[in-house]
Symmetry: C2
Subunit: 166 residues, 2 copies
């Protein structure tokens, strides 16, 4: 199994006011951002404005690719650190540095998509856009491991208010 | 904007009993399938078994890449065909032929993930696996265009029972 494929940038995340580019530096995905789709693909967006949310797949171009599974990421919950494999986490350091967000679509302005809830730095290459299809992406009875539920609870406490989906 | 990136196969969809490979030929994503992850990445799966669902990103290796936005896909709802851009649809013919599914994880067997609800043919290269994070993927108030709601209703009628998420 040694197959490699080529993917192209079809648009770019535009969020010039946010820091970004530095790992660990805070930025709020809840701030509005713009996805600028290349002009040649703009007609492909027709009808996207009738979705409340979209799926954005992007390439984490400033992350070094992960080379081995060996190093683990500790998931720190209330009950202490727990080590889990990188696939179980959202670490950007992956064999293919591909990110996924399901932001709310505020509006479409021709080839520009203005969104809230896009967890990607300014300048990030976008590789696919899909309308958010609840039948495909929504899993109402999904459950997560205890360490992740605890991690989220501690995030909520730090922020002082409960999480609200975008 | 002319950036291209390389992505690698990290595993393969195994579903030998389903036809697949022929567009339009029926196969049921609800049938169990196995994702065989390459041995070198297997440790990265540790902890994934504690998720009820996973996110699978795959490369549609038998689809010709879309070259122009020009050709539209008709979305056929009860109120007749409506033309929308390809980004609004789940057509596999995209600038980057990338697919996304959020199947239920039945069990993990070391480097094998047995799932239900994976909409990918036998042999499809997998490029990323993530645990399904409801905070990131679930959008309870998401709404879709009328043509899509009507399309789903007609699918339900053909099948004779309502859709149930995997």
């Amino acid at each position: 199994m040694k197959h490699w494929f080529r993917i192209q940038e079809i648009g770019t995340v535009h969020r010039p006011l946010d820091p970004g580019g530095e790992e660990g530096k805070y930025f709020d995905p809840g701030v509005e951002a713009t996805i600028k789709i290349a002009e040649r693909w703009a007609d492909g967006l027709d009808g996207i404005e009738d979705f409340s949310h979209i799926v954005v797949i992007f390439y984490l171009d400033r992350m070094p690719r992960r080379r081995t599974a060996g190093s683990w990421r500790a998931a720190e919950g209330d009950s202490g650190a727990r080590k889990v494999g990188f696939f179980s986490t959202r670490t950007p350091k992956r064999p293919n540095p591909i990110g996924l967000s399901c932001p709310r679509l505020i509006r479409r302005d021709r080839s520009n998509l203005i969104v809230r809830g896009l967890d990607a730095w300014h300048g990030t290459p976008v590789i696919d856009i899909k309308g958010y299809y609840p039948r495909d992406e929504s899993r109402p009875d999904a459950t997560v491991p205890d360490w992740l539920a605890e991690l989220w609870q501690s995030h909520d406490r730090e922020r002082g208010f409960p999480f609200k989906p975008y």
